[in-house]
Symmetry: C2
Subunit: 451 residues, 2 copies
């Protein structure tokens, strides 16, 4: 085969690609952005798996398909996907539409680079550094620290636990686990189970409700306590507003996981892991010194090469999403958005009282979570006891099924301990309106009143 | 604060967002897609860190900036980023421009969802399943298996090692490391160091050049051997073409990491991890059963909920990138692309011979890698020995510096063991032309002949 014949001429060959991308973008803007956020459209177009498989025609074949067909496939992919930016999506810890982070993520996809060296990602390396530094200032680490963006909150937790182990056992990489002191982690088992199982599961759990205070000193009996990181999720965002009041416990934490794709609505994923340490702990803990990436005789300051700080080799430039959003709206508007969101906690409670005839609030709304039972008329006069609880337990799954099939909204349900299934409504987007909230409660009643 | 006043009316408020996204897309197509792939444009617009910081005006402020300014920031971010899709980018294991995966990644960013449940990601859940199944057929696993897409090849390796440990110690999550048999991993230390350090570093390494065959049987002396996964990277893609000839060693592997963002040019990241096991090993190894996501009393078949197979909670729908690309071009064209790419191995060698006066080929080109020394005229008559090696070692960094500053191309260099710095040219994109290859070699000579 003659490579000159079969290799495309790049300049000419890009024209169809450009035209395809242009047409696809029209579809994305129309279907995902415009319709996907319009309250009059459905949140989801539910199809059961077997039927959706047919509709999507998933089979991969020997020959390709024409452009028009592929564009139709893009339309279909959007059509049958859940519209998580819809104002009536309360199902998860992400919601809402943030155009700046969306554009930034389009750019990072088009630029197609990885954050390991300054050489291949100069712009995003500097932006990540700038964003991390400003975030650390916000949480009160006046002396700075270190950090990186990574593929989600669980990965941040993984980094936190691994760093803590390395901090207490700096010889760990040489001696291995059998040559190191035994360690104990004081944490909530639910939060860290996956990570602890992964990194060795040699800890003793102490299951604690909520977020325990960190115990930093080695105990006298030859066991050390590992710091666990505060998975602040959206809580930290709140912290922006209460910085001068009580951020005290944050200042005491040695690391923080901050997910900007939660209350600040950045496109998925946008997760920062911040470490208070300033002695290159991240680098020392994870470095392997791959000679094809981290040459020490480069002509620029190689401290800008961040790739050896991370476990993974490739790392997406997610920081750019937050940087562009921040530049576009400014710190004060970020704060306003959180303020606006926080008002919903009271409002949710207010609405729940308004509908208290058939709602039973499980807990005071805690940040973005409102947990409640819907009590259908048939159960209203039953006394509390096993019979009521059993019947109540069956209510939420049926309402959820009807909700998905009608496509008007999405909120989650779950059980917890011995508590029967309850609705867990996550109100995370400042784009939500009061009528959306009322709609949810009335709609649950409409869907479940016959149960 | 009255939430009705401060909460935006969604339908109206999306108009500026749509207009912003539209304008940004024009910039992305013009600057990243069109210019970024044009051989007449620069590969990079090098600026040293301090200067680039000034140019980018990184500081995050209290107040936001107008749209026109933000659009200019988008332009600047693209301008000063490396154009990894440029035909003269040979610096990394990713290159080239693939419009279908790019559009698919725009869609996943706009849809903003995570793969944990069918409920929130019905389309992408089914697509991932379809893609993984077809990939397993291609590598000859006629009976199927299991798998997931994850944030990169290193994460695939992490899954492989963790699964292998769980396979040999199924009680591991209960007994912990001190209650489990000691294990040995037979692998290349360079490939797996970071991962092994993370998951406990209680292995004994056997450093082996290249890819060792897996040893699957427990040894008699109470040590088990862990399977290591074959990080096939681009090699597996080659395997598509030689499926009927020798794919034998792949069929014997118990897991495979397949990075579609390498030779198949999908946008970053697009990494599949395939496991031959059909006994839900992935699920059993990683499950934590979070009750707010994986309710067992849902109204649909919950085996479609894949989120408890993974360590991380959020998982991006990267499979869609490969699915759309595959649909658009078909299996045969994917094979053709690899064929076209493979021709370059011979051509690289041919070119190196053509320029053999000043090039010294270090190794036969191995798949996408061409490693060679550039020997400036002043060194050509020096006999092999410490003096030549020392001088040769200093050549590549200087040529690289001049290359970056001229911006005409990008290729990497490295040392290896006692071998002085050599160029490592990664020819991974089928969009490369023969003249690009000649250009690289002539350009190195132009940049380094005075050394």
């Amino acid at each position: 085969m003659n490579p000159d014949k079969c290799s495309p001429d790049t300049a000419e060959d890009m024209e169809p690609a450009e035209s395809f991308i242009q047409q696809a973008m029209e579809i994305i803007i129309q279907e995902a952005v415009k319709k996907g956020t319009n309250v009059k459209e459905k949140v989801c177009e539910w199809r059961p798996p077997e039927q959706l498989k047919e509709l999507l025609d998933l089979e991969l074949k020997d020959t390709g398909e024409p452009e028009s067909k592929i564009l139709q496939r893009c339309r279909d992919a959007i059509r049958y996907s859940v519209k998580t930016s819809h104002p009536r999506f309360f199902n998860q810890l992400f919601a809402g539409m943030e155009p700046h982070s969306m554009v930034a993520s389009f750019i990072t996809e088009a630029i197609k680079t990885s954050l390991y060296t300054y050489e291949v990602a100069p712009v995003f390396t500097l932006m990540e550094d700038a964003v991390l530094k400003t975030m650390m200032e916000l949480i009160g680490w006046k002396d700075g620290g270190d950090g990186l963006f990574n593929p989600g909150g669980s990965m941040s937790n993984m980094y936190a636990v691994n760093l803590a182990r390395y901090y207490y056992c700096p010889d760990f990489k040489e001696t291995g686990i059998y040559g190191s002191p035994r360690l104990v982690m004081l944490t909530s088992q639910e939060l860290f189970k996956k990570i602890v199982d992964l990194i060795g599961n040699y800890f003793y759990f102490t299951s604690i409700r909520g977020f325990p205070t960190c115990i930093t000193e080695p105990s006298p009996n030859n066991y050390n306590f590992l710091l666990h990181n505060h998975d602040m999720n959206f809580k930290l965002v709140v912290a922006i507003n209460v910085l001068t009041v009580s951020l005290l416990y944050l200042i005491r934490a040695n690391s923080v996981a901050w997910n900007l794709h939660k209350m600040l609505m950045a496109t998925l994923q946008c997760s920062a892991f911040l470490v208070r340490d300033k002695s290159c702990l991240l680098q020392r803990c994870h470095c392997a010194g791959a000679s094809y990436l981290f040459q020490q005789d480069k002509f620029y300051d190689v401290s800008y090469d961040t790739g050896d700080k991370s476990v993974q080799c490739s790392r997406k430039p997610d920081a750019f999403k937050f940087w562009l959003m921040w530049k576009a709206v400014g710190t004060r508007e970020l704060e306003n958005r959180v303020d606006r969101r926080l008002v919903w906690d009271d409002l949710c409670l207010f609405s729940c009282f308004k509908y208290s005839l058939f709602l039973n609030v499980l807990l005071q709304p805690e940040f973005a979570n409102v947990c409640f039972w819907y009590i259908p008329p048939s159960l209203r006069n039953l006394p509390d006891g096993p019979e009521l609880r059993k019947k109540l337990h069956a209510v939420a799954p049926v309402v959820k099924e009807r909700m998905m099939k009608s496509g008007t909204m999405m909120i989650g349900y779950q059980k917890h301990g011995d508590k029967p299934n309850f609705f867990r409504m996550v109100v995370i987007s400042p784009q939500v309106k009061r009528q959306d909230l009322d709609f949810v409660l009335e709609e649950i009643h409409r869907l479940g009143k016959d149960l």
